[in-house]
């Protein structure tokens, strides 16, 4: 699953650690999501989108098989 977290984080001037604290996960988890090595659960995806003031679809893009 593709995402725009790195870009949105840069726009908001947030570090991975600050975003992790705001979402309630570890910095390693944010890093893994950002690098598209791990797909977050729906609640986490919604929390991330809410922090950036966007919808889930605007942050995450499902690419299919």
């Amino acid at each position: 699953m593709k995402n725009r977290i790195r870009v949105l984080r840069a726009e908001k001037n947030l570090t991975q650690a600050e975003l992790a604290d705001a979402v309630g996960v570890s910095r390693q988890t944010i890093n893994a999501i950002e690098k598209e090595k791990f797909d977050p659960s729906l609640p986490t995806a919604f929390r991330i989108a809410r922090i950036f003031g966007q919808t889930v679809e605007e942050v995450f893009h499902y690419q299919g098989e």
């Binding site: 309630g24 570890s26 390693q28 988890t29 890093n31 893994a32 791990f38």
Partner: protein
């Protein structure tokens, strides 16, 4: 400069500390029963039973504290833990039975010891954790 930790991190640290204490008590009572049976109370059955019961209580406390810790992990950390534990369980079952068969058929010159299996489990779990953590870095 002092950095403020999130409440979740503080709770995790507290549970980790509790887990360390339970584990230490479990290991110490295990050692006490094994060595005490022969040296300290010279084979007294009653004292050995009391020791085993105390050891079991500490062991159960350790397992439940570990379960509490799992509840405080985030989804990726939990996934890493579950994958590592699943692999460890599967490999221990397969290797453990093979080890037992080697003992029964005298393929190995010594008796199969449960300690070897515990050592294997520990090694396997640590290796799986390291590999999985690296995978998601």
């Amino acid at each position: 400069m002092e950095t403020k930790q999130s409440p979740l991190k503080v709770r995790r640290k507290a549970v980790l500390k509790r887990l360390s204490i339970w584990t230490l008590c479990w290991v110490l009572t295990e050692a006490l029963v094994v060595f005490g049976h022969n040296t300290l109370w010279e084979g007294s059955r009653a004292l050995t039973i009391i020791g085993v019961v105390i050891n079991l209580i500490f062991g159960i406390g350790m397992v439940f504290t570990y379960r509490n810790l799992m509840g405080l992990l985030d989804e990726l950390e939990r996934k890493i833990q579950l994958e590592s534990m699943g692999l460890t369980l599967g490999l221990t079952l397969v290797v453990g039975i093979a080890y037992s068969v080697m003992d029964i058929t005298n393929l190995i010159p010594v008796d199969a010891e449960i300690g070897m299996l515990v050592f294997f489990m520990g090694f396997c779990y640590i290796a799986c954790m390291l590999i999985n953590k690296r995978r998601y870095q």
